[in-house]
């Protein structure tokens, strides 16, 4: 149109140029078409045609460009089952590549309420196929004005087929990734679990989210299942053996809770970690039960005599005492209105190895007092016992350290009362005592010995470490750990029985038993921690509830099962500790 208007002044400007035709005809034309020049009119028409065609071709070209930019837009909507938003997670494998967690596809049912024609009919038909759907709630959802509502997450392929056959408009399926844990409760606390949207909310699953996966999800890039799997340090078979024996022990000694941990002394890797009662990550509702917490990382406990190893190592490392030093344990140690007794009282002067094997409270307290409060505090802090230990697991607990640490605190902490730490922390400390003096932060991921050495700090001298190995082995030969001395594996260990605090007083009957074993003691590779909460006395334990009667035999059974899996070769006819380990120290 604008072209004609633009040409109009030209027409008016040149009326007199062409007038060769006879006047009659001209008058006729003027009557018929008005007083307009014919040539100018023709030119205007051609111009209009050019413009129209140009417009059409522009539209075609634009459409072509649009097709080129979004080439397959019409393929995507074709399938019945569409892909859900990015929820794929990488597989989690154990150290040998066995699957601990993986994704499978499951269809989920959704509705677009605006497209639904008959809400009542749809409700009726859907509840017939999915009887566990609540009819009133379903009707409410379908009648809402929203564009999209989930009806049921993760339905079976058979249900999907049936609903598909109903032919309801406005009802569709999305394929969603569903996390499955093939080993159910076996690795529960370690691996954690995910919520319905496949986001990690506990354990290593949460760690995975925190390390890049969440960013991938937000960017919408994690739809593919070709993500690199995550390899953990845990060994599924060792984990199973440990859990199996702990379940057996838990029923036998009727404990409230049991926990076990296997760690690689030289790399800090955690090869197995069990805390009973545990839960099935496929059904994570159980995880909210407070009795099912992970006692090894989330709980703090007074670990009892296990701490004596730290006290004695502190004094040996400072050079204040030697293995031949002796301390007076004839009478209970009086401190103010408190008296420290020995459980296996010998009523004589004890040497350092005797203090360790008889687990003398008096002797250890005297050693700690000789070192002084400040040195004791400094050493425990250096060993990582006073600060919160952080690992890949999101759950961790702060140790309960006395606010005002006087001599009395040093006396009791020397034998493991008055300071509560997470058991994993104690494991880290004991590892440092026996691996040559390197404090290595524990990890749930695979780590080589070189990587561990780069992270480690030297906390005690290698010679102190040798002496601790000797004491631990001696305890398995002569002391309270005899029942864990599995022939062939040269086990060493330290028991711990701590009285639990009930109504503000230490109870005589409710105890928390621990046992820390190292194998093989002459050159340790693995540490095993067994913890039993409130074991009951049995006829075969002769009425005793101390660690040597329940935690130690349990550890013995575990060691017999896991040592071959861990590649610890059995050796027989090894000389006793004085010759094999102590001779090396004396040289």
């Amino acid at each position: 149109m604008s072209a004609i208007e633009a040409n109009a002044p030209n027409v008016a400007a040149v009326p007199a140029v062409v007038s060769a035709e006879p006047w009659r005809r001209r008058a006729m034309r003027t009557l018929l078409y008005g007083n307009v020049d014919r040539n100018a009119k023709a030119r205007a028409r051609v111009g209009l045609a050019i413009l129209a065609f140009a417009a059409v071709y522009t539209v075609i070209a634009a459409r072509l460009v649009m097709f080129a930019v979004a080439p397959e837009s019409h393929f995507v909507r074709r399938g019945v089952v569409r892909d859900a938003v990015a929820t794929a997670r990488p597989d989690i494998l154990d150290r040998d590549g066995l699957i601990l967690a993986t994704d499978v596809r499951a269809p989920s049912l959704f509705a677009e309420p605006r497209k639904i024609i008959d809400v009542d009919e749809a409700t009726e038909l859907l509840t017939a196929v999915l009887p566990d759907l609540d009819a009133t709630e379903l009707r409410e959802r379908l009648a809402s004005k929203r564009g999209f509502v989930w009806l049921k997450r993760e339905i079976t392929p058979k249900q999907r087929q049936e609903i598909y056959r109903l032919g309801l408009p406005g009802v569709g399926f999305l394929a969603e990734n569903k996390r499955v844990y093939p080993n159910s409760a076996e690795v529960s606390h370690l691996i954690g679990h995910v919520n319905i949207d496949n986001q990690g909310i506990a354990g290593m699953e949460k760690w995975v989210d925190g390390h890049g996966l969440q960013a991938l999800h937000l960017a919408g890039l994690a739809t593919d299942r070709l993500q690199k799997p995550i390899e953990l340090a845990v060994d599924l078979r060792v984990q199973h053996a440990l859990r199996d024996e702990l379940i057996f022990a838990a029923t036998k000694y009727k404990v409230k809770a049991a926990a076990g941990l296997v760690s690689d002394v030289n790399t800090g890797e955690i090869v197995a970690m069990v805390s009973l009662p545990d839960y099935d990550p496929n059904n994570p509702k159980q995880a909210n039960d407070p009795t099912r917490i992970n006692r090894l990382t989330t709980g703090v406990f007074e670990l009892g005599s296990t701490f004596k190893a730290l006290t004695i190592a502190m004094a040996l490392d400072a050079g204040k005492i030697t293995l031949n030093s002796s301390f007076d344990a004839r009478v209970p140690l009086r401190y103010g209105r408190f008296a420290i007794h020995d459980y296996h009282a010998q009523h004589r002067v004890l040497t350092v190895p005797e203090i360790f094997t008889y687990s003398s409270n008096i002797g250890t307290a005297r050693i700690a007092l000789a070192m002084g409060v400040e040195h004791h505090k400094w050493f425990l802090r250096k060993m990582g016992q006073l600060d919160r230990l952080r690992t890949e697991l999101p759950e961790s607990a702060e140790p309960l350290v006395p606010k005002r640490w006087g001599e009395l605190n040093t006396v009791t902490i020397a034998f493991g009362h008055g300071l509560s730490v997470a058991p994993l922390q104690a494991v880290e400390g004991i590892n440092a005592l026996v691996n040559g003096g390197l404090l290595i932060p524990p990890t749930f991921l695979k780590r080589t010995a070189e990587e561990a050495r780069a992270l480690a700090t030297q906390v005690v001298k290698p010679s102190t470490s040798d002496k601790m190995r000797y004491l631990m082995r001696l305890n398995a030969e002569k002391g309270s750990a005899r029942q864990a001395d599995v022939p062939g594996y040269y086990v060493g260990g330290k028991t711990g029985t701590s009285e639990k605090v009930v109504n503000g007083r230490y109870s005589k009957t409710k105890v928390l038993n621990t046992f820390t074993a190292i194998l093989p003691a002459d050159k340790p590779r693995y540490q095993l921690l067994i913890m039993l909460d409130e074991p009951q006395a049995l006829p075969e334990t002769h009425g005793f509830t101390t660690s040597g009667w329940n935690a130690v035999p349990t550890a013995g059974k575990v060691i017999a099962r896991i040592a071959p899996m861990l590649g610890v070769l059995p050796r027989f006819d090894l000389p006793p500790a004085d010759q094999l380990i102590l001779a090396k120290v004396r040289q």
Partner: protein
């Protein structure tokens, strides 16, 4: 001049038709291929999902707790003890072979020897021929 223009026109029209047909052909082909790619992509994803499901099932069946239950129910096996393990280099030497080597065939040895020169009744020996 007009003739040339006319021929040129015809040529252009023909080439236009050919070009259009060719473009249509390419477009058609590419649509087919794109559809095939999409279908194959779908197939691959389905296969991968199936593999993942099977792997998950395998892991469930392979779970140590399940195997242990089955073994306890059906087999007389017990956990191996430390005495049942040993190292390869502590194995004793392979015992000497006590089986006698096969006896030598006396006749075959004579026949195979290089200076075997048989005398038979029908054939004259070399000395007799002379």
């Amino acid at each position: 001049m007009r003739m040339i223009l006319r021929i040129l026109n015809v040529c252009v029209v023909v080439s236009l038709v050919v070009a259009a047909a060719y473009v249509y052909e390419i477009k058609f082909e590419s649509t087919l291929r794109a559809e095939r790619v999409a279908k194959m992509g779908g197939d691959i994803r389905r296969e991968r999902d199936a593999i993942a499901a099977l792997r998950a099932e395998w892991a469930t069946l392979d779970n140590p707790a399940r195997i242990q239950g089955l073994v306890r129910r059906h087999l007389p096996l017990r956990p191996a003890e430390a005495t049942q393990y040993d190292q390869l280099d502590r194995l004793p030497e392979r015992p000497p072979v006590i089986v006698q080597p096969p006896p030598v065939d006396a006749i075959a040895a004579v026949i195979n020897s290089p200076d075997f020169n048989p005398l038979t009744g029908s054939v004259l020996s070399q000395t007799e021929r002379r």
